[in-house]
C-alpha cells in the first residue's frame, strides 16, 4: 500500500487543529443539539428578523469588504512594492495600520463627518456646514461597509505586499524587455502570480468583516440594521446563548461554502510557484508622470483611514468631554494623580499599578502566540499547497479558517470545559497563561495560515526537489529552504497574529486571571464604569505597541538580502 505524499505532515497538522479548533467547535455545537434554538433560528416566525435579514446584511458586508479591500489593498501593495512611487516606505507602514485601529475609532471618524441628527447629541462636520446627511449616508449598510473596508484593506495589503515582495522578477523583466504595456504586465503576469495571496487576503477581509461587531453596532443599530454578529452578541447578552451559537454555526457553514468556492477556483488553476532557485532581482516599474498623483491618492486614502481615526482616538483620550474632542485637552487621563474633583478620583493610566505588568504580559503573550501560530501556520500552509489528500486537506483548510467566525466568549468557555480540568497525566490548565495562549493561538490561526499559504504557494518545488535529491531531510529542507523563502509572508503573518492577540478581549475575558492582567482587560475595566477616556488611553497604548511591532517587522524585512 502506498501512502499519499505528505500524509504524515497532514496528520501532524491535523492533531493540533482538532484539539484547538475542532474540539471547541464541537463542544459549542453540542450545546445547541436538542435545543429549540435550531428551529427558532431556521424555521419560525422569528427567523426572518433573527436570521435571514441579518445574514443577508452580513454577506453584503463580507463580500463588499472583500472586494473593496482587494481593490484598495491590492492597489497599495502594487504601488508600494512594484513601482517607484515616492515615499513607498511610509506608505507601506501607513497602509498596514488600519487593521490595528479599533473599529469604533474608524466609525467615530466617519460619524464626525456624516453624523446627522438621528441620534441627537452633536452632529458631524457636514451638518455643521448646513448639510444634514441623509440617513443612508450617516447610518446603515453603506457607512458600515466603508468603515470595514477602511480597516481591512490593510489585511489584503499586508498579505499581498508580502507575496509581491517575494516575487521573482524574471517574468516581469522579460515582459518589459519585449515591450509589453504596463497594464498587460500587471493583469497578465503579476496578478495571476499573486492569486493565492489575493484570495488569502480577501478571505481574511471577509472573515474579519462578517465577525466585526463594533462597526455594525455603532453605524447600523440607529436604523435597525442587524448583522449576524450583532444578533449573536445580543442573543448571548440577553441569556439566549444557544440561539447565538446556532447563528455562529450558520455563519461558519455559509462562509465555509464561500471559501470552498474560492478554493475550487484556485485549485482549478495550476501551480503558482514563482519563487525559484535563482532569478533576477525585481526592479521597480517606472510610473513616470503618474508618480506624484498616485502618491497623493494613496496618501489621501491613508489620511482618511489611518491618520483621521488615530487622531480622533488620541483626542478622545485627552478631551474631558466626548462631545467636544478638541477642547480642554489634558494629560490627566494619562499621568494625572488621583484628584477627587476629576474623573471621580480616578488616577491616570500610567499610575495604575497594574499597567507595567499588563504591558509585559500582553507583549509576552503576543510574541509567544505569534510564534506558535506561525509555526502551525507554515506547516498548515505546506499541507494546503502540497498534493491534496481526500477530505484531510480540506479539513485542514476549513479548520484553520473558522476560528475567526466563532464567538470569542463561547470559544473561551469551550477551552475551560475542555482543558480546564486536565485529564489523565495532563494537568488542568485553567488559570494558567498557557490556556490563554492556546486559545489565542487557535483564534489567530486564520491569519497565520492564510499569510503562510500565500507565500508558500509561490515557492517552486524544484529547489526543494534538488535538496531532497542531495539527501536533505524534511525538517532540514523546511529550515533551510521553505522558511527563508517564505520569510516575508511569515513576518506578515506573525504581525497580524500579534496585533490580533494584543487587541483581543472576548477570549481573554473568559480566561484571564488577576495574576495575568492584559491591556485589553484594563481597557474594558475602565470602559465598563464609564471612564471612557482612560479606556481610550489604553487603546492608544495598544495601538502604539502594534505600530512598534509593524516598524520592527519592516526592519526585519529590510535586513533580508
Amino acid at each position: 500500500m502506498i501512502l499519499p505524499k505528505r500524509l504524515g505532515l497532514t496528520l501532524v497538522v491535523l492533531v493540533p487543529l482538532i484539539l484547538l479548533v475542532a474540539a471547541p467547535l464541537l463542544s459549542i455545537l453540542g450545546q445547541t443539539l436538542g435545543s429549540a434554538a435550531w428551529s427558532d433560528v431556521l424555521v419560525s416566525r422569528l427567523s426572518r428578523n433573527l436570521t435571514w435579514e441579518p445574514l443577508g446584511n452580513t454577506m453584503i458586508l463580507g463580500l463588499g469588504t472583500a472586494i473593496g479591500s482587494l481593490l484598495i489593498g491590492g492597489f497599495f501593495a502594487w504601488l508600494v512594492v512594484m513601482t517607484d512611487v515616492p515615499l513607498a516606505r511610509t506608505l507601506g507602514v501607513l497602509a498596514t495600520l488600519p487593521f490595528m485601529i479599533p473599529s469604533f475609532a474608524t466609525a467615530l471618524a466617519w460619524s464626525s463627518l456624516f453624523r446627522n441628527s438621528r441620534t441627537g447629541g452633536s452632529t458631524g462636520m457636514l451638518a455643521g456646514l448646513g448639510f444634514d446627511s441623509p440617513d443612508w449616508l450617516a447610518w446603515g449598510l453603506l457607512p458600515t461597509l466603508f468603515v470595514l473596508i477602511a480597516q481591512y484593506y490593510a489585511l489584503v495589503f499586508t498579505v499581498v505586499a508580502a507575496a509581491l515582495a517575494s516575487l521573482n522578477g524574471d517574468a516581469v523583466e522579460a515582459a518589459e524587455m519585449s515591450g509589453a504595456p504596463r497594464r498587460r504586465i500587471l493583469l497578465g503576469i503579476v496578478l495571476p502570480m499573486v492569486t493565492p495571496a489575493l484570495l488569502a487576503g480577501a478571505s481574511l477581509a471577509f472573515a474579519a468583516a462578517v465577525s466585526n461587531f463594533a462597526a455594525p453596532a455603532l453605524m447600523g443599530l440607529p436604523v435597525r440594521m442587524q448583522t449576524l454578529s450583532t444578533r449573536l452578541f445580543g442573543m448571548i447578552e440577553i441569556g439566549q446563548a444557544e440561539r447565538g451559537y446556532v447563528l455562529a454555526i450558520l455563519l461558519i457553514l455559509v462562509s465555509a461554502a464561500l471559501l470552498g468556492v474560492g478554493n475550487r477556483l484556485l485549485v482549478g488553476r495550476r501551480s503558482f510557484a514563482t519563487i525559484s532557485g535563482k532569478g533576477a532581482r525585481r526592479h521597480r516599474m517606472k510610473l513616470g508622470r503618474a508618480r506624484w498623483p498616485l502618491c497623493c491618492t494613496a496618501m489621501a486614502i491613508c489620511f482618511v483611514t489611518t491618520l483621521g481615526p488615530i487622531l480622533l482616538l488620541v483626542a478622545a483620550s485627552l478631551a474631558p468631554q466626548g462631545s467636544a474632542l478638541f477642547s480642554d485637552w489634558t494629560l490627566q487621563f494619562w499621568t494625572g494623580a488621583a484628584d477627587p474633583d476629576f474623573a471621580r478620583g480616578q488616577a491616570g493610566i500610567f499610575r495604575n499599578p497594574q499597567i507595567v505588568k499588563a504591558l509585559v504580559i500582553t507583549l509576552g503573550l503576543g510574541v509567544a502566540v505569534a510564534v506558535a501560530a506561525v509555526i502551525l501556520g507554515v506547516l498548515a500552509a505546506l499541507v494546503l499547497t502540497g498534493p491534496r489528500i481526500r477530505v484531510l486537506t480540506e479539513t485542514v483548510n476549513q479548520l484553520s479558517f473558522l476560528p475567526m467566525l466563532l464567538p470569542g466568549i463561547a470559544f473561551g468557555a469551550a477551552f475551560i470545559v475542555l482543558y480546564g480540568a486536565g485529564f489523565g497525566p495532563v494537568p488542568g490548565l485553567y488559570g494558567t497563561p498557557l490556556l490563554l495562549g492556546l486559545a489565542l493561538t487557535a483564534a489567530s490561526l486564520p491569519f497565520a495560515v492564510q499569510t503562510g499559504r500565500a507565500t508558500v504557494a509561490q515557492i517552486a518545488g524544484d529547489i526543494d526537489e534538488a535538496a531532497r535529491m542531495t539527501g536533505a531531510s524534511f525538517p532540514r529542507r523546511l529550515v533551510a529552504i521553505t522558511l527563508p523563502l517564505a520569510s516575508r509572508g511569515l513576518i506578515a503573518g506573525a504581525l497580524l497574529v500579534f496585533v490580533n492577540v494584543v487587541g483581543d478581549l472576548a477570549i481573554v475575558a473568559l480566561l484571564y486571571t488577576p495574576d495575568t492582567p492584559v491591556l485589553s482587560v484594563l481597557s474594558y475595566r475602565y470602559a465598563s464604569d464609564g471612564f471612557q477616556q482612560f479606556a481610550n488611553a489604553i487603546t492608544v497604548v495598544i495601538l502604539a505597541i502594534s505600530v512598534a511591532a509593524t516598524a520592527l517587522a519592516q526592519l526585519l524585512k529590510g535586513r533580508r538580502p
Binding site: 462631545s323 480546564g420 464604569d529
Partner: protein, 373 residues
C-alpha cells in the same frame, strides 16, 4: 467521558460538602468568621464593576492578612465563566457580585451554581424583597431621562404613552433591548405591568386601549407602538446619554438610561435629568446582588467579603460601601442615608423588578421585540 466523570464528581463533592459546615458559617458574625477567614488567607470575587478594585484596598486594610482577588467581568461573562468552570469542576470564584438577575436566578441559582447568603448583621436592615432569592446590595435604574437645558420647565412628557405620539417619532432613544439584558428587563417589566399600562393609556387618551391582533396586553401594545414610532436604537448607555444629554440641542430627544449617569453631567457636558412624574412609572429599578458560589474554596472569607460589601453601621455605609454610595443608586440597607443629590428611593417613580417573574416571560418579550424590528 472523563470530562463528564470529573464534572459529576465535582458536583457530588459540592453536594456532600455543603450542609453542616456551611450552615454553621452562615450564622456567624464577622468577628466569628475572622479567624477561619484569616486561615483561608484569600477570597476571590467576580465583579461586574471595576469599583471592586477600591473595595479590595479597603477590605485588605480592614482585614490584614486576607487577600481579596477581584476579577472584572460583565454579568454575561460571569455567567458563562461560572458555567464553564462548573463543567470543568474548577471553582475559582468564592463570591459573585453581579447584575442581570433574571438570567442569574435561572441559569445559575436554579442550577445550583450559587448559594444565597445574608450576613446575620444586615438581615433585619434589608427589606425581605431584597434578601431573596439573592441578597441585593444596591439598586440601579433604567429610566426615562431628558435634557433639562432643552426643557427647563421639567420633563416634556407625563406618561410613557406620550412616547408613542407622533411628536416623539424618531425622538426616543434607547439601547437595543436585544443587545443588553437590562433594557430587555425594562421591556419585560412593562409587559408584567400591563394593567397599569392600560390604566395609564386611558388616562392619556381618554378611551380604553384596543389591542392589535396578536398582541395580548397593553404592555405588549406599548412596545409595539413604541417601535412603530421610529424608536431609535443605539449600542450603549453612553450613546443614549450623549444623544439626549449633550448641551446645546434645540430639540433634544428623550430616552431610557441610568439615573446615576446624571452625576457625570458636569464632566461630560450633559444636561441629563430624570423624568420622575411619569405615568405609570418612569422605568425600572433593579438590583446588583451578592452571592456565594456553590462550593467556595474560602467559605469563611467569602462570607466576610459579602459582609464587608454590605457596608458598616455608619450613615454612608463606610469603606466597604463607599465606591457604591453615589447619587442615583440606592443602598438596599434602610439604615444607610440616601445620597443628598438624588431623589430618595421611596419617592422615585420606577418599578422594582422581580427577577423570578421577569425570568418567566423574558424570552417571550424578546421574541415579540424580534418580530417588531
Amino acid at each position: 467521558m472523563r470530562l463528564m466523570t470529573s464534572t459529576l464528581a465535582g458536583l457530588a463533592l459540592t453536594a456532600l460538602a455543603l450542609p453542616a459546615a456551611a450552615q454553621h458559617l452562615d450564622g456567624l458574625s464577622a468577628a466569628d468568621l475572622l479567624p477561619q477567614a484569616q486561615a483561608e488567607g484569600s477570597v476571590t470575587v467576580y465583579s461586574f464593576t471595576s469599583r471592586i478594585g477600591r473595595v479590595e484596598e479597603a477590605f485588605e486594610a480592614a482585614y490584614p492578612g486576607i487577600d481579596m482577588i477581584g476579577y472584572d467581568l460583565s454579568s454575561t461573562e460571569q455567567i458563562t465563566r461560572l458555567k464553564a468552570e462548573a463543567a470543568a469542576g474548577q471553582t475559582v470564584a468564592d463570591v459573585i457580585y453581579v447584575s442581570d438577575t433574571p438570567v442569574v436566578t435561572t441559569e445559575l441559582l436554579e442550577s445550583g451554581l450559587l448559594s444565597p447568603y445574608v450576613p446575620p448583621r444586615v438581615a433585619e436592615l434589608v427589606p425581605a424583597q431584597f434578601t431573596s432569592p439573592l441578597l441585593a446590595q444596591r439598586l440601579s435604574t433604567k429610566v426615562l431621562m431628558y435634557n433639562e437645558e432643552t426643557y427647563p420647565d421639567g420633563a416634556p412628557v407625563d406618561s410613557l404613552w406620550d412616547l408613542t405620539r407622533p411628536e416623539w417619532a424618531g425622538k426616543v432613544v434607547m439601547v437595543d433591548p436585544l443587545q443588553r439584558g437590562d433594557y430587555l428587563d425594562l421591556m419585560t417589566e412593562i409587559v408584567l405591568r400591563a394593567e397599569e399600562m392600560a390604566t395609564a393609556y386611558e388616562a392619556e387618551f381618554g378611551a380604553p386601549i384596543e389591542l392589535d391582533s396578536g398582541l395580548r396586553s397593553a404592555g405588549e401594545q406599548f412596545i409595539a407602538d413604541l417601535f412603530a414610532n421610529d424608536l431609535v436604537l443605539v449600542g450603549s448607555t453612553d450613546d443614549v446619554n450623549a444623544a439626549i444629554g449633550t448641551l446645546g440641542q434645540e430639540a433634544a430627544p428623550i430616552g431610557f438610561t441610568s439615573y446615576s449617569d446624571r452625576r457625570d453631567n458636569a464632566e461630560e457636558g450633559w444636561a441629563l435629568q430624570v423624568a420622575n412624574d411619569v405615568a405609570p412609572a418612569n422605568g425600572i429599578v433593579f438590583p446588583a446582588v451578592l452571592a456565594l458560589t456553590a462550593a467556595p474554596q474560602n467559605p469563611a472569607a467569602a462570607r466576610l467579603a459579602i459582609d464587608f460589601l454590605m457596608g458598616d453601621d455608619s450613615d454612608t455605609g463606610g469603606a466597604g460601601f463607599a465606591p457604591f454610595y453615589v447619587a442615583g443608586d440606592w443602598a438596599t440597607r434602610t439604615d444607610i442615608t440616601p445620597h443628598q443629590d438624588a431623589i430618595p428611593l421611596d419617592q422615585f417613580n420606577g418599578w422594582q423588578i422581580d427577577a423570578v417573574k421577569s425570568a418567566e416571560i423574558r424570552a417571550e418579550v424578546a421574541d415579540l421585540i424580534l418580530t417588531l424590528q
